[in-house]
Amino acid sequence: MTADTGTDAGADTPARSLLAALAAEARAAAHPRTPATACACASSPLADREDATVVRHAGTVAKAHAADTDPAALAHRVATAARLPGVLLPPLAPAPAPLHGRLVTLWPYGRPVDPDDPDAAPWEAAATLLARLHRTPVPAGLPAMRGPAKAARALGRLRSALRGTPHAAARPVLAAWGTLPAWARAAAPMPGPPALCHGDLHLGQLVRHPAPDGPWKLIDVDDLGAGVPAWDLARPAAWYACGLIPPDEWTRFLAAYRQAGGPAVPADGDPWPALDTAARALTVQTAALAVTKALTANRPLDEVEQAVVDACARMPSVPPQGPRPPRPVPGLPD
């Protein structure tokens, strides 16, 4: 069968040929001994964004990474996933392969969190996986975690969108960004002893494998690397701070992370000195993307987007909570 990619079958655009080629890759990996003509399964695009195109065929998922992906860095990240199968979804192929000018990786399909049911978010599993990731020694040669770089990119997009049209909500977002320390803006190396970080945790980054009821795993290694582990806790922290998730969900997440010995926050007491900078940065990133989307669609911010912008507006008047001094490692001299 031909690949059913759900796109306009008439136009042989580069995007369409990439989708078709990805579907063929996924199909070939899903049924290596079956000729293409004998396969009756459909291929479905899971994502088609600027930074990634993802196609599923039966139990296999093929991902074309962003055009500007560093090949050596991606190879390191995929190899790290292969070495940590209890935490990260392991790849089907050990190394990325070029296809239509993009790097492609192959993964087993895992069942994601239902986007229509965020109440079912596996907060404990997410926190435990992060704690285990953060406790893993950073593999030699792994590049830096890309969280701050992605925040900086979101601000870049906002500034580009503002060139055409000013927007009142952009000012507090840009002002809050300006109060962040250089490392959180990707303008300086990250401080502290580096931990192995995911770099882009959200509820779309968790799947159950084997589907549908296997254990939860983290997916998407594009931003994986060495860095400040609080960054991985900071999105749920920002959602809680902005009122997007209720206190009990944040408490469950934080308690499970501590229970699993995660090093990003002290084992007890106030976690906010460790989380404040990263939670601010991710709030600003979220607000920047929200304002950019509203600008592009020429629509007002909705209530939730406004809440995130309002949090940015309050940031400059609240002194930052500095990071705690490094915790002494038991058994080692100071």
Binding site: A121, A241, P247, W272
Partner: protein, 101 residues
């Protein structure tokens, strides 16, 4: 089952033991016999122990700490955990924010 209004598939959710069918298309909700009463009962159980509105009032349970730049109704738990955007009204952007970079 199919939504009686727009015919999109309906998904079943369990909330505190109450089965709720929600349409994946128009987001309409279908309740079986007695489920509305069960929800009302749960609602009254929820609202009874909630502390009175003044945010300065001492809390019966310690709320988790939150940064001062956060939403006043969010992290501080001043309203017994109600009032966050993820509660009874799932905004489109809310769902999007939790599932994207």
């Amino acid at each position: 089952m199919q939504c009686p209004k727009c015919h999109a598939p309906m998904h079943t959710y369990n909330r505190n033991g109450v089965q709720i069918e929600q349409c994946s298309g128009c987001r309409g909700i279908f309740l079986d016999y007695g489920e509305l009463e069960a929800l009302t009962r749960l609602e009254s159980q929820w609202s009874q122990p909630a502390p009175p509105p003044p945010p300065a009032a001492p809390q019966a349970y310690p709320a988790p700490s939150a940064p001062a730049w956060g939403a006043p109704h969010g992290g501080h738990g001043g309203h017994g955990g109600h009032g966050h955007y993820g509660g009874h009204h799932r905004h489109k952007s809310f769902g999007h924010m939790l599932f994207s970079s």
